[in-house]
Symmetry: C3
Subunit: 147 residues, 3 copies
């Protein structure tokens, strides 16, 4: 059994952006000798998220529109009343980003079979920035059998 | 430690259908000797999903109605403009299915305790077809201690 | 490798309530000797859920309002027609709670790095009661290397 931890850094753009981080994860997997096991992908932020789906440019625009309908940035949120909270001066107005993050997921677990990510043909690991631009960290933990 | 991979095949019906795959997972677990560990259930498709909840027929109808309200098939989606994408002739019109899949989950992890799935009384593993009919594959990875 | 199972019990209040169970998980982790691995947090109920996000009081109120908009308690649901189902007399009217649970998650997997939960600065493990008051069980499975 081997357990290895790595970090993928993503410098994100403004607002909501979606990044396909599958190639980076595959590269990290290749340098381990894990043959059967799992990759745990874990966001260390409360306004980012993960999903596994198709990396098709027009679909990713649909997802952004969909999330913005369910939790509009222009909505009225208690979390955005900064004057009622004890916060630093540069605190962002981002309740909608937190709500979107909770509708998606903070982590994804992907099986490793024969040394490869067992993703289906159209599946990619998508990292969602929901309150950019920021410097973000995605933790990648690879574990399994090496023989 | 043992890690074992199996595949459950599901031939789905038209549109949105929900299948309780708990019995198949339990059968696969029984033929391993894993006593403590985890079952990772992983969909290899971008228009299917998983959830753990109650297998009650009227509730499952409510879930379908709920998903269809949040991401209606009749909605206007960029992904559905097939003439603007480089796709085969039989490409499905299924942006709503992708959005539903992202609101649910591509995977579920269930603890194994004393050789059994540690599901609560009312919990079942539900596989969602969101763009049927199709032949679908659900990967089951069982890992843990065998003593 | 070590795999250890524990249960956190939560006596919940009426309706929708959110509990930060991070301190209990950290306490359980401290008494193991796992240095690198994972904590699997798993709800054994169909009207509770988990999310990892910020434990900020006003944000948690926003989340409750958000969930109640997407799946209102006052909505019309087939699951709530108790006279058409074979149920005990004290069966709750809780279709909305099941739908909310499915929009969130039944489980969360958190990496353990250097003997600690690898949560980001603002991340907490949040347990959602969606149909309280009840006595609830959250299963905690800690697994990994002990050296």
């Amino acid at each position: 059994m081997q357990i290895k931890k790595e970090v993928i850094e993503v410098n994100t753009s403004k607002g909501i952006c979606i990044y396909n981080i599958t190639p980076q994860i595959e590269k990290l997997l290749q340098v381990t000798s894990v043959k059967n096991g799992q990759v745990l992908v874990f966001c260390q932020h409360t306004t980012t998220a993960l999903a596994i789906n198709e990396d098709e440019e027009r679909l990713l625009e649909d997802v952004k529109i969909h999330l913005s309908k369910l939790a509009p940035e222009s909505g009225i949120y208690l979390h955005n009343d900064l004057h009622l909270r004890d916060v630093p001066e540069d605190e962002p107005i981002n309740a909608h980003s937190h709500l979107m993050a909770m509708m998606l997921s903070s982590s994804e677990v992907i099986p490793i079979v024969d040394g490869k990510l067992a993703l289906g043909t159209w599946q990619s690991v998508l990292f969602f920035e929901l309150d950019g631009p920021r410097k973000r960290a995605v933790l990648i933990q690879i574990s399994g059998e090496t023989n």
